[in-house]
């Protein structure tokens, strides 16, 4: 295509065009790199910013959510907000901060229904199965129940009371004659709605909802739980008592 065998066109206008193309191509590559880096760094959002029910894992969420705000519009409790530049989560994406307005766990899950992209997965039809985060007693030193008092507020407000939060009784070593009613969260049933965090009576909530990737990890693949494998297999996994090698110094007697 070029006018000369060296590959550099002799016609100054075409040479200019080629130069422009290289320059612009280079500029575009720089722009793409910067935007990619920014896209990757946007996956980190503040721990207190929670995604709406049914949200895909953060990485996929940023590929899916078009920042339309339809979920925000259909949330009857004004729980959800769209992120402004300075809010922390990727610009324009929906989030809520439990301590401000928690999710009221609507039976009909209007936010998910409104989502046009599946960033909020339409497969979520039972709000009790939502996983917006997991509550954690982040401050054992200030939680009133853990000091031996009977506050119980987080436990009382939990929509999944006695499943997501239970009170576990133990001996109060300080007074030696009372009990401690420790609020214990069970990640399987906690939806991360944040009602507990919202209602904690302390100035700074002693219970906080954290993102599941921080607070509720999956069981490791390579550590098998013998008792679970046993039920799965429907019986003992090894037939006979194992014959284990005897370890003793050579020549020694039992």
């Amino acid at each position: 295509m070029s006018d000369s065998s060296s590959g550099i066109p002799r016609d100054p206008r075409r040479r200019k065009a080629l130069q422009d193309m290289t320059r612009f191509g280079g500029g575009a590559a720089v722009a793409a790199t910067m935007l990619t880096a920014f896209g990757v760094s946007s996956r980190a959002k503040p721990a207190q910013a929670l995604r709406p029910p049914g949200a895909l894992p953060e990485r996929d969420f940023l590929a899916a959510c078009v920042r339309c705000g339809l979920c925000v519009r259909d949330c009857p409790y004004d729980t959800l907000k769209l992120a402004d530049w300075a809010d922390g989560p990727a610009m324009g994406t929906p989030f809520y901060v439990a301590r401000n307005v928690p999710c009221e766990m609507c039976d009909t899950i209007p936010c998910v229904k409104a989502c046009p992209t599946g960033a909020l997965q339409h497969a979520l039809t039972d709000i009790a199965k939502a996983k917006m985060g997991v509550a954690v007693i982040t401050s054992r030193e200030t939680c009133l129940n853990l000091q031996g008092l009977r506050c119980d507020v987080c436990y009382r407000v939990c929509p999944a009371i006695d499943k997501a939060i239970t009170l576990e009784i133990s001996h109060n070593a300080r007074t030696t004659k009372h009990a401690i009613f420790e609020p214990v969260i069970h990640a399987d049933d906690c939806t991360g709605c944040g009602k507990c965090e919202k209602s904690c009576v302390l100035t700074d909530s002693a219970i906080k909802v954290l993102p599941i990737e921080i607070a509720a990890l999956k069981q490791d693949e390579h550590y098998k739980r013998g008792w679970e494998e046993k039920t799965k297999a429907g019986g003992a996994l090894v037939d006979a008592p194992l014959k284990l090698p005897v370890r003793r110094p050579e020549g020694g007697t039992p």
Binding site: A32, L35, V66, C68, G69, L70
Partner: protein, 318 residues
């Protein structure tokens, strides 16, 4: 090349004198009305409790039945490897079809909330006689479209929406997220002081994407009355994409179509408003007929203008 001539500070003077105020500002008035109208659809809900359009320009639901999704955002989402579940597929198809009919970058001049800001910058530039402009080639934005799509693939996120000042301004207006309007302020300053039509005419990948649709879109502006052109250059002064006019307006000798086929044309109609000789009209792609040279039929130049006026106005009313 002709577009390089220094724009006049008051290009509308002739048109107003010869056609009257309305005929010289119809498209401007209609465009502002359209921009306000589309904004009002989104604002009636939060302000009056009457929900017409919910959502934002990225994706919306009108009257609970009509889903609309920006095809460029949709494309980035696909590039980021999300297969959409829900109404966004239909929404994007509807919007794409609409712009294939209505002109592609009609989005830019009739809907985009940034347009009034960049129009204002261009107007101020003319009035304040700011002639300095950085030289950026108009096709730089196409490279940006490529960069945005590449970044979407590589980062697995809808890359442009992370910083897009267009949707950020819309969210500022509709959801009250005012930091998002900062980008628009920067664009205004850039357009005013750094480059003429700097943002919309050279950089914005959203406009560039719609420009690709515009390359095949049906509704176009046509210089079908180009024989009447008196080379006043007013249209070049007001057009946000002056390079699109030349081929159609000056195509007489080469026999090129009078239709402005370039996708960059935003179908804003500024040329139609500003032309005192009624050279431009709205038209359709493929309608390549030119109006006969009026000097063949009309006896004097004065009579020519007067006699052609009423018919033209009727035809143009949307």
């Amino acid at each position: 090349m002709t577009a390089k001539a220094r724009p006049k500070a008051r290009p509308y003077v002739d048109a107003r004198a010869q056609k009257g105020l309305w005929a010289a500002s119809r498209f401007l008035v209609l465009r502002r009305a359209s921009q306000l109208f589309f904004l009002a659809l989104f604002l009636s809900g939060p302000f009056l409790g009457v929900w017409i359009a919910k959502g934002t320009l990225a994706s919306s639901m009108t009257l609970g039945t009509l889903p609309l999704t920006d095809p460029f955002v949709f494309l980035q989402s696909l590039a980021a490897r999300h297969w959409p579940e829900g109404l966004s597929v239909i929404g994007a198809a509807i919007v794409l079809a609409a712009y294939l009919l209505l002109g592609g970058r009609t989005y830019c001049s009739w809907i985009c909330p940034i347009n009034p800001a960049t129009d204002l910058a261009a107007w101020l530039r003319r009035r304040l006689n700011i002639t300095f402009t950085a030289k950026i080639r108009p096709d730089l934005r196409l490279y940006f479209v490529g960069a945005v799509l590449a970044a979407s693939v590589l980062s697995g996120s809808i890359a442009w929406e992370l910083i897009n000042p267009v949707t950020a301004l819309h969210r500022a207006l509709v959801f009250g997220l005012w930091f998002g309007a900062g980008g628009t302020a920067a664009i205004f300053v850039f357009d005013l002081l750094v480059a003429r039509h700097g943002w919309c005419g050279h950089l914005c990948p959203v406009g560039a994407f719609y420009g690709q649709i515009g390359k095949v879109a049906l509704l176009r502006v046509t210089a079908d009355n180009r024989a009447a052109c008196n080379d006043c250059m007013d249209c070049f002064a007001v057009c946000p994409e002056p390079h699109v006019i030349g081929p159609a307006l000056r195509g007489e000798r080469s026999g090129a179509t009078p239709v402005i086929t370039a996708g960059d044309c935003t179908v804003c109609g500024a040329c139609i408003d500003v032309c005192s000789k009624q050279v431009f009209h709205l038209g359709l792609r493929g309608r390549n007929a030119v109006r006969p040279d009026p000097s063949m039929t009309a006896p004097s130049p004065v009579a020519r203008v007067v006699s052609s006026q009423p018919a033209v106005l009727e035809r143009d009313l949307p």
